[in-house]
Symmetry: C2
Subunit: 398 residues, 2 copies
């Protein structure tokens, strides 16, 4: 099974640490910023005698609070249009299961979040990649090209914006073009927007802003990133399509409920009058880190990258790399700079197209800035050492 | 989609309450007993700065504590053999997905927990029911009969013991016969044992007690019932089959992790020297309720039931019932005794075989005893009124 190269390589980092090496983890999507106090206090102070199942749709107070949250971004929802899920992952799986049958196809711009691929595979759904290129800033190709990929089995187009792994945020024009295409071919648009508040340039456009997609739009969302609460396992699925929601509700019912305590934590967070300040502080921090990391990366010879508009990732091409997974293994097994090494995520795991991405890596800016700067120094040295090592092996001696 | 008749009827109870009727909920598997203090304190006192993803296999301290828990029931496990899941539900889904492909078949004794059916359907897996009968105490039929149901596509036999919805616990001889059959046909045995500690007669035999099933046994487990912590969403999957566990690990990775706080709550609970007392107190309480409920049910004319050995359900046949789902609707919409009514779960939802179970209901003993007694009084009166009403409608006037 493809996907999850990030977690697959984790044991190598563990082994490196056992040898006394310090590892800078720029390979993961786990922010290091403290979870807002109001969220944790909501969990700690909840008056729970019997920790019972939450309603399968979500706790009413949580749904109410989330409706207020979306209203704050100009999106009016009713309680019939939103479900609380076990992380964004479950919302995504529900979206796939409710829109596709076994053997159906979904279009996904690549590079993509690898778990999309894994979940589609588990559900017998074929991923048809729309290849995007670093040279175009990972923006979508012309719709005529995407249209060529549509078959009678195509049920949905799916993406994250701002994107994991590239940080690209689709423009309003791009989203409009996708909406038009979806309507023309009656496709669902599944838009995964957990990084929406982490935007540093331009605007984050939500799929829910297109009223013509009333029956076609599915928002997948999560508190994991904007609250630095990945371990809460709280996500959301939003659709205005009532028939589709009936299918979603069946899926909600058979898995019983999302965790109760964390739903109460979310109520506490969203009822805190300063919650927008907490999110803004997170955005400010990542904005500064992005600038620092992006500048640092420019010091690595040969690197091709684009300044990401949002999220907390930079996707970088190093043409000198033959196989970035081998490079990551080298960094973990064979390299250190004064006892330190840096882990990044190899690029090929973010593509469905075979052979693409071997000269690319994803770098997450989930550490404080001095560490980011040092991690890139170490990465730069490692890259030089790796290329030298490959040339040495490839050159016949005599 | 079949399954979940219990939750489907919930809106009727809500409507009844809005009309001022008190509803005794004997239809649900949600215990009313307080969650152990040590569990909730583990959540409240956890030192969490960043609420990060837990490792996809489970938090090491949680896995260690669970290994100790299983050792306490005589089952020795290593950390490679146990995964923490998002409730027993996820463990069950993982077991299905790791053992079956689309179009494969699983054998399930019916009546069964309805969500088995829903999850199998979602994964394109065919449920082949092994019909068991109230007259035989819902024990398994002779293995020769089960053997006739096995086809080249049969991959697993799956059951809960002690059983939801019948309370039957399979005997050691029965489990041995299943083990022999599974080995003969190389089937997996998926045993769902969340009620194992809630046994009142005889012994709860775990599938892990059969060493010959080393590669074939999968234990699905959960803390929901024995800790009265359904809303924690913490379950476990155990298998000694290392190849199978590799597939399970891929499933664990793509869904990221089970909730962090509740895993820490479980560590706190299992590290409390008195945790066995908490579980024993729960067992004692349900034991007494079982006796009370079972005795009360005998007062209803025509009822056929068996005293359940474990769990907290009684499955009852009322031959005077033509359609127990209609009866439940009647109880919610058209009946009350001094402002009170009782909700039970209609039997047909627990069967895959069409037309079976229409004269049966599942009654959960999840209320204090005085309420159980009153709930059965109300049920008895409602049953009389329903039968009378049906006869009135069926009898031509003139």
């Amino acid at each position: 099974m493809k996907g999850s190269p990030i977690r697959r390589l984790v044991p190598l980092a563990i082994a490196a640490k056992k040898r006394g090496i310090e590892v800078y983890h720029l390979n993961i999507g786990q922010p290091d910023i403290p979870t807002p106090r109001s969220f944790m206090e909501g969990i700690r102070n909840a008056k729970i005698d019997v920790l019972s199942y939450a309603p399968s749709r979500g706790i009413p107070a949580t749904i109410d609070a989330l409706i207020g949250f979306y209203a704050g971004m100009g999106i009016e929802l009713t309680e019939d249009e939103l479900r609380v899920t076990i992380g964004g992952s479950e919302a995504f799986v529900f979206a796939l299961q409710a829109t596709c049958n076994h053997g159906d196809e979904v279009l996904i711009p690549e590079p993509f979040y690898p778990n999309y691929y894994g979940h589609a595979l588990m559900n017998g759904i074929k991923v048809v990649p729309i290849t995007t290129r670093i040279e175009n800033g990972f923006h979508l190709p012309p719709m005529e090209e995407i249209e060529k990929l549509i078959t009678p089995r195509t049920k949905a187009i799916l993406f994250s914006t701002p994107s994991n792994p590239t940080g690209v945020a689709y423009t309003r024009d791009e989203m409009q073009a996708v909406a038009d295409l979806a309507l023309k071919h009656d496709l669902y648009v599944i838009s995964d927007e957990p990084y929406r508040e982490l935007m540093y340039e331009g605007e984050a456009v939500s799929i829910l802003e297109f009223p013509e997609l009333h029956d076609n739009a599915i928002l997948v969302d999560s508190i994991s990133k904007r609250l630095s609460a990945c371990g809460a396992r709280i996500g959301m699925l939003v659709t205005r399509n009532r028939e589709l929601m009936k299918s979603i509700d069946k899926l909600c019912m058979i898995r019983l409920s999302a965790p109760t305590c964390e739903q109460l934590g979310l109520v506490s967070f969203l009822n805190d009058p300063h919650y927008k300040d907490d999110i803004a502080a997170m955005r400010t921090k990542f904005h500064s880190r992005r600038d620092t990391l992006y500048k640092a990366i420019q010091s690595i010879p040969g690197g091709i990258s684009r300044k990401p508009e949002g999220a907390f990732y930079v996707f970088v091409k190093f043409p000198q790399l033959d196989d970035s997974e081998e490079f990551v293994k080298f960094m973990m097994n064979d390299f250190n700079l004064d006892g330190e090494t840096t882990m990044v995520a190899p690029g090929a795991g973010f593509y469905a197209t075979p052979g693409v991405g071997n000269d690319e890596v994803r770098i997450a800016y989930v550490l404080e800035e001095p560490k980011l700067i040092r991690a890139v120094e170490v990465l730069k040295a490692g890259l030089e050492a790796y290329v030298e090592e490959r040339q040495r092996v490839a050159t016949p001696t005599g």
